[in-house]
Symmetry: C2
Amino acid sequence: MSENFLPTESYKGVRDFYPKDMAIQRYIFNSWSKTAEIFGFEKYDASILEPADLYKAKGAENEEMVNQQTYTFIDRGEREVTLRPEMTPTVARLVAGKRRELNFPLRWYSIPNLFRYERPQRGRLREHWQLNCDIFGADHFTADVELIALAYQTLIDFGATPDMFEIRLNNRKILSADFARGAQKYGVDLKDEQILKISRLIDRIEKINPSDFEKQMVDILGNDEFSKYLLERLTSDMDDEVIHKTEEFEDLKFVYDGLINLGIKNIKVDLSLMRGFDYYTGTIFEIFDKHPGGTKRAMLGGGRYDNLTAMFSSDKISGVGFGMGDVTMRDFLETHNLLPAKINTAPELMIIPLETKFNLEGEKIAQIFRQREIKTAVDISENKLSKKISDASLSGVPYVMVIGEDELSSLTFSLKNLSLGTTESGSIDTLLNHLTTHF
Amino acid sequence: MSENFLPTESYKGVRDFYPKDMAIQRYIFNSWSKTAEIFGFEKYDASILEPADLYKAKGAENEEMVNQQTYTFIDRGEREVTLRPEMTPTVARLVAGKRRELNFPLRWYSIPNLFRYERPQRGRLREHWQLNCDIFGADHFTADVELIALAYQTLIDFGATPDMFEIRLNNRKILSADFARGAQKYGVDLKDEQILKISRLIDRIEKINPSDFEKQMVDILGNDEFSKYLLERLTSDMDDEVIHKTEEFEDLKFVYDGLINLGIKNIKVDLSLMRGFDYYTGTIFEIFDKHPGGTKRAMLGGGRYDNLTAMFSSDKISGVGFGMGDVTMRDFLETHNLLPAKINTAPELMIIPLETKFNLEGEKIAQIFRQREIKTAVDISENKLSKKISDASLSGVPYVMVIGEDELSSLTFSLKNLSLGTTESGSIDTLLNHLTTHF
């Protein structure tokens, strides 16, 4: 054997899931699944490998993202293949592929892993998981309400209370109407390019100081008054009264009132909310962690798009959806102390043969407990009894049963509860009944 | 919009999981997890992205496999990265990485997706999932027995009966002893290269006709008698009696008897069983589907290796493990009619507003049922009532509740059981109690 040992670190920017971390990840995924299914959502998935074309269709500007931020390579059949960086193009492909057979509206969810091909930075991983929930083919705004209610409920079901987070709500149409109104009012011939630039600027509003923000806006628009008008709208305080008396807020009002009606009140209408993605056309929303020590980024975001499947067919299918990452989710749960104190992955019973010659007898007894669905392992190591018991205790095993000559000849066994220090003795059947009443 | 639509097919050689297929996959994975956990195994995972070096360490011969059959590419940091083609190197990395902290023996399992970079062929996918179960750090043969018992139980827990499959058992040491004994007896100076070639030949024994097999063996060994001796051993009928009276079968006998002791009797000792992988050093086994229409390949295979973590450190850690693919598993379940007739992913209750103006009321009522963990959706489409009811029925929804003016003013609702055609009427509370006794 060579002494040039390989390092045991994972590839840079991804995570290893040892049993303890795996248990936390499963706890999060199971809770996500349960909430989504209670809302009638069905799970789907696809391969992480996708044709690269799927991510190129959004236009030249997107190509930069595709080339620089995705894992893309050429396969043996000269196909260009990409590790999916987001799930929306995949689910659009699936929906379009069976659009004639599927019964709309669809409620679909998935928990895909996604890949970003960038230099790893603190908190920015190359692989992460994301809960994706979408309703397809429902134009009615109830879909928007339901989807936000589902996002809200995913947090509540982890034990979060509404004061821990805030739903920020907006509608893309309001800004579009403001652009049009302002352009007319101030006689500006607003170009698409300018709209795009302003949208990007607004998307970064929380990262720029107010005077720089204003300056950049004037630069783009070339008009002070128009800028002032937009700025006022973007930063205006949207309380309940303002929302209800403003005429052009029809869609937003419906969603806002719908949520209030469902008892969801931690909502803040924020006209500066943009969501970076191009495809949103109506409702947009994000959920922010309100904890002062919490992540400053959105934990979750989504919105409505008029036509999800435009790249695949001329049949229009609308959608409303959100995505929620596992890293920020875990951060939130840790910040607010919502993770269960103990997620135990250890067996419920450890059978401890006194000597290795009793190992097989141990397996036979284990088989009886396993048939009754008690998680049972046998310590088949060559360790001493005391080490075997302390190992079981350290791993969080609640019960141990030592077997040796005496137990096997008398058929009387002892079951020790490691945390209480109590012992129960009797036949295997007696102890089995004792345990099945405990699990 | 351009008329150059993208195709909706997946990348070649991988699968899309629409809800129905996803449900079958989850059914399989859940059953795998449950069986492994009942045996006291803990789940782990890692990223699909691994340093390419992990697969290169096995020697030059392996490089061909690495270059030709893995997805390997260079990242922005000039790192060579591979999509994992198997899980063993990853789990070896994890075990070695925390070998000082972990409490051996470990019982670990995972259900990773694995990637093969080859031209897709029928039944050979570029991505598949695999149940991997391993016991690390247990040198005692009870570990081999337990692991095979677990493999057996995974099939039994799907409803399989022992007559449907066969466990083929062997031990690498027997062949090694035969090589040594034969070489001495027939005065052949057997080279490592020859041993490798013969091992490969034996691995293909079922694919070659007997006379060709013999001819190739003579070619490699350059000795007729030695060939005859080996052939006789490889093809000898290993019944219970032969196994017990043959002296050098110590390890094999222990495992064989241990399994019989646990009531596992569908075992065939097969001295020609090789398992293609280099790292096995002791027990090897495979499980074959006995159905005449079933897959002719092994459904599952594994074995014991003396030192799993040799590439990472000089600490020796033994292991015994197996892997079982999702594609062959599903084939087996379908061939033997073991998949549940109906895996329903539809909501348990569909609330059907008579008009879209009642949609939000529908969501409010849904919220009450969801709080009691009844999977509830609202049909917020603009379809007619009859279409809404037939859609629910087609999707497998068992209960529907229509809401309109009358229901909302009288607060008396009707719950229809679509398969029985029966109707229950009353307040929401009454119907809620009715439903919670059904789910």
